[in-house]
């Protein structure tokens, strides 16, 4: 396998696995686990295979050009540091899959779990292996989204939903800040390529935009790594299933933040800004979270706060800007991942086997599960930093760094003290974890009788704990070469000499360790009484909750703020809104005219004066003006007048030699009239006497103002269009199309050739939008609740029905059967004829006026006629009207035609045209564009029919409770 495929398959495989996992049956727990496990192992295997090349020096790179002209390529890059992380992500991922197989209960829908899990793993590998900063941010956001889905996996649980929401809000906001920071960084360097960014450290640090970029990037990293003050999402995320917590909060999600900081450490660290920003966040997280962790009663809560504290430790190490600090930080990332994953799994086992995670209820479990207890003890000893375990090594390095002076300041002075205190706290909570759960009297009234978990569930924990032990005891033989590889890839030539030995002699760090261990143990015994019964959360700080502040902030942003703005800057009334809108439009059009001069070129009338055309326009104008006048109270009259105005527009198109437009416009005109009529039925009726007569002065003035506004807007439009039309035509694109339509598109109807060939991609987009609109209309109308006064059948129908019922020789509904009898028979007979018309319009479209759109509308009117002639029920009993199917077919056909040209090696939507010799008929033009046009036809037909029918169906809808109550009231 080449390096390219190796790298790309590492990222792609989990996503492929996720898609497959999503489609497996709900109960397939074993199949899902096999799949996920295989994928994780495959990623691990890829990392193994890549090791020789990376150990030989240098990074592997794979690039897939995407938009090369914009410098956007999919770049994957793996150096030692990325390799270390890829091993952690895939290795711990595999162990978690194994664990999850036994943790998830048979009732849980596992496809969703494993699908999200694999997709998350893929995103995390994507972050680690990205060779391009923008790409890194995209994968970063994907981890936010998938962690949201994973944390909210048990969405029937309110706290899971809450936790997922908070984590998404915090991490995604941070992600947006990160995007801004990365864009700035790319701007400074001139490239988003990681290699180039990493090689221009001086440029970045000395650039005026360094500080904003730093702040934005750190915001991203701190939110992801749950650093103070953004730490509050992490404890809330503990509502997730434990395998998710074990994965997200040990090796992956929260590590992404420190990973990024370490990745950019060579180019961004070393300045006072970095020291202060990162140092303050790191130290405060380290100390505060360790303190909070002591007082948690929930096992996972304790681990969550301890995670924040350990991430704070890593952040602090990174803040020091010393190469040895960075070595310690990277080392601790690995160590923390191993012991924290095993601790989370142990906590999950305890929860699984006893039914509770509350430390006040748990006690003396050692006698029930000695093996698990031993494993957990070793792991928490590693967390506490007990010698001979891996946590001890990195903590010693931390102490050694803390006592060095890096930047003379108060922060630097307090660091060693804070380090010792935080470490003391961490010993306290580690001891508490073990002592409260495994020792003491046997537990009483637990939900389940505790016992050892199945072997395979314990195996991941055992492996992780074993690695803690081995690394802690013989670091030089196990982790050192890999660590050195990772560190060298980050630090380059600045890599310091370091040795991982258990015994460094009697020195200050050792003394600090001893103080922490002894002090922590003493503190835990001192607090034992209190903690056995205390409430959740640390004393004094119980009430100060980051989450509550966050909720306040969210309420302000999402609710109170907009309300405030609405009250003082906006209105709910339509009229003022419209007034403002029109006024703003007038102003926007007027300003450039005023500043640049109108440029109308003198008002001259066209030299040729056509009396007939003028007459048509007089008719149209009168219709339009009176329609506007009548629109408020006489809707039907206004509609008829609009029909007249529309007609004169169609005639104008003919007069100005645009038969295509005229044809289409006519068809649209007819269908629109019916559509509006359908809607009129549901509009509220006119309220008589709403206005006092005579009108008050203010009303009159208001109307005058609106009139002036309307006239101004109309005049403006007129002037603008006049100015545009009187301009010399100039070099337009029209000539180009006229020239090429036949030679390249194979059609003489230029409009149609443009639509289906030259601009086929636009048309595809447009019909897609049309489909979306139709579906939206359909969806909205399904929930349509008419106004109370339009719920009963219209007045006319009530009167006719009364007459029918009262007359002795008539049945109920007799009016409907006789009504418009001649017209309805004609309309029924017209059905095939209109279909022929549509077919005709469609087939000749490529060469003469017509085309898929016009044909679709003509076909729609055929359907409308049938509906009007015989009514919905009768028709739908006899004719299958499937607008949704037509729409889907149209969209698929249009896309497939476009894709078809790929088969012949042409770009998307290339059209092919030729003439076919058909016996009897002769030469027939045949272009692939015709197929595309068929798609347009089918979609237009489907969409229009869907919308019309959706409104028409309103009147035969099942009588809802409201309508029934209304009718009961009448009788």
């Amino acid at each position: 396998m080449t390096d390219d495929t190796l790298l790309i398959s590492m990222v792609v495989l989990p996503f492929v696995g996720a898609i497959i996992a999503a489609f497996l049956p709900t109960m397939a727990r074993n199949a899902e686990s096999w799949l996920a496990g295989t994928v994780a192992l495959a990623a691990l295997g890829c990392a193994f295979l890549a090791y020789p090349a990376i150990a030989a020096g240098g990074a592997l790179r794979a690039e897939i050009p995407w938009l090369a002209s914009f410098g956007l390529t999919l770049a994957f890059r793996m150096d030692g540091f990325a390799w270390l992380f890829a091993m952690l992500v895939s290795g711990i991922g595999f162990l978690v899959v194994l664990y999850a197989r036994y943790y998830m209960s048979p009732e849980d829908p596992v496809p969703r779990f494993f699908s999200f899990f694999l997709a998350f793993m893929g995103s995390m590998l994507g972050i680690v292996l990205s060779g391009n900063l923008i790409q890194l941010v995209i994968f970063w956001e994907m981890t936010s989204i998938f962690s949201f889905l994973l944390i909210g996996y048990w969405y029937h649980n309110a706290s899971a939903r809450e936790g997922a929401r908070i984590s998404l809000t915090v991490t995604a906001t941070g992600g947006m800040a990160l995007l801004g920071g990365v864009l700035l960084l790319g701007h400074i360097v001139g490239s988003y390529d990681l290699d180039e960014v990493l090689s221009s450290g001086n440029l970045i640090r000395n650039h005026p935009l360094y500080l904003p970029a730093l702040i934005l990037i750190l915001l991203g990293a701190f939110t992801k790594s749950a650093q103070f003050p953004f730490h509050f999402w992490l404890p809330n995320a503990m509502a997730a299933p434990t395998p998710v917590s074990a994965y997200l909060h040990s090796a992956t999600l929260v590590k992404a933040g420190v990973f990024l900081m370490a990745r950019l450490w060579p180019v961004m660290a070393g300045t006072p800004e970095w020291f202060w920003l990162v140092g303050v966040a790191g130290l405060s997280s380290l100390l505060i979270a360790a303190y909070f962790a002591i007082f948690q009663q929930d096992l996972k809560g304790l681990l969550a706060y301890s995670t924040i504290s350990h991430l704070g430790l890593i952040t602090t190490l990174l803040s020091l800007s010393s190469p040895l600090g960075a070595v310690a930080a990277i080392f601790h990332m690995v160590n923390h991942a191993t012991f924290k994953a095993s601790l989370f799994m142990a906590a999950g086992i305890i929860d699984h086997e006893t039914g509770t995670r509350d430390m006040r209820r748990l006690s003396g479990l050692f006698r029930f599960m000695p093996i698990t207890a031993t494993l957990a003890m070793v792991a928490s000893a590693a967390m506490a930093g007990v010698p001979l375990l891996n946590g001890f090594l990195s903590k010693e390095m931390f102490f050694a760094e803390a006592i060095e002076t890096h930047v003379p300041s108060i922060l630097d002075t307090v660091t060693p003290y804070v380090a010792v205190i935080a470490s003391l706290f961490s010993v306290t909570y580690s001891v508490r974890f073990i002592q409260a759960v495994f020792f003491g009297p046997p537990p009483v009234d637990l939900p389940r009788t505790p016992h050892e978990p199945p072997f395979w569930m314990r195996l991941p924990v055992s492996l992780l704990v074993l690695s803690c032990l081995v690394v802690g005891a013989i670091p030089g033989r196990t982790i050192e070469p890999f660590l050195r590889l990772g560190v060298t890839s980050v630090l380059g030539e600045a890599t310091p000499e370091f040795s991982l030995a258990v015994w460094h002699g009697l020195n200050v760090p050792l003394v600090m360790s001893v103080i922490a261990l002894v002090g922590g143990a003493l503190l835990s015994f001192a607090l034992k009484r209190y903690l056995a019964t205390s409430r959740d959360g640390p004393p004094f700080f119980r009430r100060v909750k980051g989450q509550r502040i966050f909720d306040r902030l969210m309420a302000l942003v999402a609710n109170d703020g907009p309300r405030f703005l609405e009250r003082y800057l906006s209105t709910r009334r339509l009229q003022p809104q419209l007034r403002l809108l029109v006024a703003a439009a007038i102003l926007a059009a007027f300003l450039p005219l005023w500043r640049q001069g109108p440029g109308l070129g003198g008002l001259t009338f066209p030299p040729v004066f056509d009396p007939i055309f003028t007459l048509v326009w007089v008719v149209g104008t009168v219709c339009a003006v009176i329609a506007a006048y009548q629109a408020k109270f006489h809707r039907l009259a206004a509609l008829a007048l609009l029909g007249g105005a529309g007609l004169s527009v169609c005639i104008s198109f003919v007069w100005l030699s645009a038969p295509d437009l005229a044809l289409t416009q006519l068809l649209v005109e007819i269908v629109t009239t019916v559509l509006i009529l359908l809607g009129l039925r549901w509009l509220p009726k006119r309220v008589e006497g709403a206005m006092p007569v005579p009108l008050s002065l203010t009303t009159r003035l208001q109307r005058l103002r609106d009139l002036i506004l309307a006239v101004l807007a109309g005049l403006g439009m007129m002037l603008l269009s006049y100015a545009v039309m009187m301009r010399p035509a100039g070099q337009t694109i029209g000539a180009y199309f006229l020239e090429r339509a036949y030679t390249e598109g194979g059609g003489t109807n230029v409009v149609n050739v443009i639509l289906v060939d030259f601009r086929g991609f636009d048309t595809l987009g447009e019909i897609t939008v049309l489909a979306i609109v139709a579906l939206t209309v359909f969806a909205l109308l399904r929930r349509f609740r008419p106004a109370p006064d339009s719920i009963p059948p219209p007045m006319q129908q009530q009167i006719q029905r009364k007459f029918d019922v009262a007359a002795p020789d008539r049945d109920d509904g007799a009016t409907l059967t006789d009504y418009l009898y001649v017209a309805s028979v004609i309309m029924q007979w017209l059905f095939p004829i209109v279909i022929v018309l549509a077919l005709y319009l469609f087939l000749r479209g490529h060469d003469l006026p017509g085309g898929g759109f016009a044909a679709g509308i003509a076909m729609t009117s055929a359907f409308i006629m049938q509906y009007m002639a015989v009514g919905t029920r009768w028709l739908e009993d006899r004719l299958r009207v499937l607008p949704l199917v037509w729409m889907g077919f149209g969209l698929l056909l249009a896309t497939a035609t476009g894709l078809g040209s790929w088969l012949f090696g042409y770009p998307f939507l290339t059209s092919h045209s030729r003439y076919l010799e058909i016996p009897l008929i002769g030469e027939v033009p045949a272009a692939t564009a015709l197929l595309f046009d068929l798609g347009v036809f089918s979609l237009v037909l489907g969409a229009t029919v869907l919308m019309l029918i959706a409104i028409a169906h309103q009147s035969i809808r099942r009588i809802g409770p409201a309508r029934a109550a209304n009718e009961a009231e009448e009788t």
């Binding site: 009168v622 007249g644 409907l816 319009l841 006629m865």
Partner: protein, 93 residues
């Protein structure tokens, strides 16, 4: 000679059709009843169709006849819909 006759008759026909359209405006805009307006619109459609035909004759092109065809075939749909709305209060039941 015949061309002149045709030319003149088309011009006269167009002017008369234009006047007829103006007349329909009175019904369309003035009413008084809604039924009058609907009839006015229908007449307007018929006149427009004829006007398009004369226009086609004058320009010597058959391209414009499709528009006339569409009016004659489908123009009444709007009229029927309006009539039905007036009579039953609903277009499709």
């Amino acid at each position: 000679m015949s061309a002149t006759i045709l030319n003149w008759s088309i011009t006269i026909a167009q002017i008369m059709l234009g006047m007829a359209m103006l007349c329909t405006i009175f019904r369309l805009a003035g009413g008084p009843r809604a039924q009058d307006r609907v009839l006015g619109l229908d007449t307007l459609y018929v006149n427009a169709m004829l006007l398009l035909l004369t226009f086609g004759m004058r320009s010597g092109s058959t391209l414009y006849f499709e528009a006339a065809l569409v009016i004659s075939l489908l123009g009444f749909v709007a009229t029927v819909a309006l009539a039905k709305f007036l009579m039953r209060g609903e277009v499709i039941e």
